[in-house]
């Protein structure tokens, strides 16, 4: 049943966000720490475990893969609702600090990629 996949995905997301909120409170800040990352880890572990013990049916799997495929359209919608005007109106300070930070971060990627365990 396709709803099993969707429900499993939803359950992982909710558990992750709840744990992320707890982590935030633990450190005394009003923010979610890594909730979505925890949810992703949960899904990875769970799907790994389920694959070993019994197969998720093809249709059940589609309840998850559909959302992963609809990801790019969602990102396009996300881009269409950004406050682009606000970013440009922020003036030189905003443009400069954001711009330089992004540029330096890009330059660091090849450097850090050399770190292996």
């Amino acid at each position: 049943m396709v709803i099993y996949g969707v429900a499993l995905l939803s359950l992982c997301m909710l558990l992750g966000i709840i744990l992320g909120e707890f982590l935030g409170r633990l450190f005394g800040i009003d923010a979610n720490i890594g909730g979505i990352g925890i949810a992703m880890l949960l899904l990875i572990f769970l799907s790994d475990y389920l694959k070993k013990s019994f197969r998720l049916g093809d249709i059940t799997e589609k309840g998850i893969t559909f959302w992963s495929m609809i990801y790019i359209p969602i990102v396009v919608a996300m881009a269409s609702k950004q406050n682009v005007l606000g970013a440009i109106d922020g003036g030189l300070i905003a443009l400069l600090s954001g711009g330089v930070a992004v540029l330096l971060s890009f330059l660091l990627i090849p450097v850090l990629s050399k770190i292996k365990k």
């Binding site: 923010a31 979505i36 959302w67 969602i74 396009v76 609702k81 600090s97 990627i109």
Partner: protein
């Protein structure tokens, strides 16, 4: 009976469905441009994201709102489709099928990139603030925090008691960062070796902006999305943790 009025009402009432058509058209047109003009060299999804940003700019100028096209009544559904809830849901879904070994192999690089990324963006923002004449530690910290992400800025600013102009500025700095990551990633991916899970995790950790990383990787290779998103999701939390505490103390020591 005005036919346009009927259509308008139906489209507004079924906002989410309208947004599927809207996004579907953008994506179709973008892949058409990608194939005809660049022979597929410039990824269709990269063009779609750029077009989305252009529409967001036009929407913002037209309505004066903060939500891009979602402030236009007819397209309010785009706000739901592109909102944090569905975006995060889809991001979690991309994790299905990720290999645990790939994550483990890049664990140390991923975690160090997080700390380096937060500190780097913070100090860039702080230095720019100082160059532009800010001399109080609270404003400098808030602008630095905004450069981390547009969530960390206001969280830090309100914790420290920064003025609302400075908080608005910090949000703008974060927005600039997020939009530049969306635009810059597909252009630069080739030159910085962003083509494997390891560098995607480092990319997520260094950039940290959820929307920027999500869109940037989608435009390069959707298979890399879960790796970048995995580290990026810890970035804002880490920033909210470090900016009002350790990083503020460092700035206060200097000023």
């Amino acid at each position: 009976m005005d036919i346009f009025e009927i259509i308008n009402t139906v489209l507004s009432k079924n906002g989410l469905i309208t947004s599927f058509v809207f996004v579907g058209c953008i994506v179709w047109f973008s892949y058409f441009l990608s194939n005809k003009l660049t022979r597929g060299k410039f990824h269709g999804s990269a063009i779609a994201i750029l077009l989305g940003l252009v529409f967001a700019y036009l929407g913002g100028t037209y309505t004066g709102g903060k939500q891009g096209v979602a402030d236009i009544g007819l397209l309010s559904g785009v706000g739901l489709l592109g909102g944090a809830m569905l975006r995060d849901f889809a991001i979690v879904a991309t994790a299905y099928g990720v290999k645990l070994d790939d994550l483990k192999a890049s664990g140390i690089a991923g975690v160090s990139s997080l700390f380096i990324g937060v500190a780097l963006s913070f100090f860039v923002g702080a230095i720019v603030a100082i160059i532009f004449g800010y001399t109080d530690a609270i404003s400098i910290t808030t602008i630095g925090a905004g450069t981390v992400t547009f969530v960390v800025g206001p969280v830090t600013g309100s914790a420290l008691g920064a003025s609302s102009e400075v908080i608005a500025l910090s949000i703008a700095a974060g927005l600039v960062k997020s939009i530049l990551v969306m635009i810059g990633t597909p252009l630069l991916a080739k030159y910085i070796g962003l083509n494997n899970p390891n560098s995607a995790m480092i990319f997520g950790g260094l950039m940290g902006t959820n929307s920027g990383v999500a869109a940037g990787l989608a435009a390069v290779d959707p298979k890399l999305v879960p790796y970048g998103a995995m580290t990026a999701t810890f970035y804002t939390g880490l920033g909210c943790l470090l900016a009002p505490s350790i990083l503020f103390l460092i700035i206060e020591l200097v000023y």
